[in-house]
């Protein structure tokens, strides 16, 4: 394909191809009408047979276990279990939304628009990225909940003993390694800096102490995973010659996002039981928060 373009084409509407056009009425209006009708009827039927949930009146003194955000935020709630709260709840989604909005300013080539999976390797990239993201996210969740160590021990009798316990999950790197005392309080900033201080009480001109093991497991490792794993995926796909353009790289990145978003939402919705323990969907029970009802 000849891609030796002298100057980037200025963004302007394509010229019309009048002989290729059809009339909006009836050709498009008909489709819109039918799809609106199908959805109206479908939702009416759904609404007839399925009632919107309504629990007991709100009571600040009675906390249901687990308490969950609306389902489309459960992906963030799931992230919260694996890293620093500010990162999972705000920084990751904000950075991602900005990246998402910046897509067209990164991939400025106007080739390959208006058709599904238009680049040569688009399908392969999408499917492979999807599978990698699906398996990878599940593995990370299983590892960080200690399930992999549990299964290795329960099914194969493999146990690393105390020496390898720090690999059980991310948090155990903080608790199981012999960190020297000074590493838990590294003085680094003589400012009132509230970014890393979860309590919001920085205090005026107080020295900030960095808990290195805590920082490692709550921020450094998650950031490395969130930035590194997608980069590694794109780099690998580039090295084997599948990703050849920015569009291809975005295909891998976006597909990875959609699948990770989906898996996190699913896990947060159907696999998190009381105390946010990882359980199978049919073991998921909600306690209404009445004392004595909690499962232990």
């Amino acid at each position: 394909m000849a891609t030796a373009v002298v100057a980037r084409p200025v963004a302007r509407p394509q010229p019309r191809a009048r002989d290729e056009e059809v009339l909006v009425w009836p050709d498009l209006i008909f489709i819109e009408f039918i799809s609106a009708l199908v959805f109206t009827v479908g939702l009416l039927i759904l609404s007839t047979f399925m009632n919107a949930p309504l629990l007991d009146q709100a009571n600040p003194d009675v906390t249901p276990n687990p308490s969950k955000a609306p389902w489309y935020l459960l992906n963030l709630q799931e992230l919260l279990l694996h890293m620093n709260a500010a990162m999972a709840g705000i920084i990751v989604p904000t950075v991602w939304l900005i990246l998402l909005a910046a897509f067209p300013y990164f991939d400025r080539d106007n080739e390959g628009q208006g058709a599904w999976f238009a680049t040569e390797n688009a399908w392969r990239i999408t499917i492979v990225s999807g599978i990698v993201a699906f398996v990878g996210t599940w593995l990370l969740i299983l590892w960080d909940t200690g399930k992999i160590a549990y299964f290795l021990n329960a099914w194969f009798g493999l146990s690393g003993g105390d020496t390898l316990r720090f690999l059980e999950n991310v948090r155990s790197m903080q608790s199981q390694l012999p960190w020297p005392d000074w590493s838990r309080s590294i003085t680094y900033l003589p400012f009132e800096l509230r970014i890393l201080d979860g309590t919001g009480r920085g205090g005026p001109t107080s020295f900030q102490n960095l808990d290195f093991p805590g920082w490692l497991v709550e921020q450094a490792i998650p950031i490395t995973a969130l930035v590194g794993l997608p980069s590694l995926l794109i780099y690998t796909l580039w090295r084997i010659g599948w990703v050849v353009s920015r569009r291809d790289a975005l295909l891998a990145l976006f597909t990875g996002f959609v699948v990770v978003f989906g898996v996190l939402t699913l896990v947060g919705t159907a696999f998190r039981g009381q105390g946010q323990e990882l359980v199978l969907p049919w073991q998921l029970k909600v306690s209404e928060g009445i004392p004595g009802q909690e499962a232990h």
């Binding site: 009146q57 969950k68 489309y72 991939d107 080739e111 628009q113 208006g114 928060g289």
Partner: protein, 250 residues
């Protein structure tokens, strides 16, 4: 060769003529019945609602598998949510004392109240899903490419607004599900660096989900965010037209 005389108008023809070719009807609908290409284009061009469309579009765009109607259906959900939402507003008062009882009232004593509430709820879920799928469609068809870069950005803003609309509506029934979901959700917002605690305070109008939070969420849900969404939708649709309709291969 004998020329055939045109058939005499039947009674039906006369009634049709009286109904649709009179002064009043013509003052409302200026074009004739859209059974000729001329009238079909005129009806789209002269009707304010249909005028969102051009009169003619490229034939690949009426293929259902090109868009799956996802953007249009998202907008349709927004309209449906407005209608059912207005009906629910007749019965609902956003106060801690009344909110829950009003929802119970809607679902038990108001005619079709349960149906309206169900429709509103499921349409809201459908809209979140449809908007997300629409984003996926636009991405995988490369429709964000020049000259539609900024419309993709507007789309991302509309995605966020959809989440916010759904989130603010979640609190209104004032049941345990609503209360604790918003508590958890606002705690996520409160964890933001530097601005977190203040943001949460402004969002809730206090340190906890209470009467102030309810009235804030209600106001945002029924007027603030819908207005904002409508403005961005207007920009979104306008720019689709200005950029030459849907993306198609060069």
């Amino acid at each position: 060769m004998a020329v055939e005389a045109p058939p005499k108008p039947t009674l039906a023809d006369k009634i049709y003529d009286r109904l649709f070719h009179n002064y009043v009807w013509k003052s409302i609908f200026r074009t004739g019945y859209p059974n000729t290409p001329r009238n079909q284009m005129l009806i789209v061009a002269t009707n304010v609602f249909l005028h969102l469309h051009p009169t003619r579009i490229h034939r690949t765009h009426v293929k259902i598998t090109h868009t799956y109607c996802l953007g249009g259906l998202s907008f349709f959900m927004f309209l449906g949510l407005t209608v059912t939402g207005i009906l629910l507003m007749f019965y609902y008062v956003p106060s801690v004392e009344r909110a829950y009882l009003d929802i119970q009232n809607i679902t038990t004593t108001v005619q079709f109240g349960q149906l309206m509430r169900n429709m509103h709820r499921w349409m809201a879920h459908a809209m979140v899903i449809l908007v997300f799928l629409h984003m996926m469609r636009v991405f995988y068809t490369g429709a964000y490419k020049p000259p539609r870069e900024f419309n993709w950005v507007v789309g991302v803003i509309l995605l966020v607004l959809t989440f916010l609309l759904s989130f603010t509506g979640y609190l209104l029934p004032w049941d345990q599900l609503a209360f604790w979901a918003i508590t958890v959700g606002s705690e996520i917002a409160g964890s933001a660096p530097v601005l977190g605690p203040k943001t949460r305070f402004w969002m809730l109008g206090g340190f906890e989900v209470g009467p102030n939070a309810l009235i804030r969420f209600y106001t945002l849900h029924v007027i603030g965010l819908p207005l904002l969404a409508a403005i961005f939708m207007a920009v979104h649709f306008w720019r689709i037209r200005r950029d030459g309709g849907l993306a198609r291969p060069l």
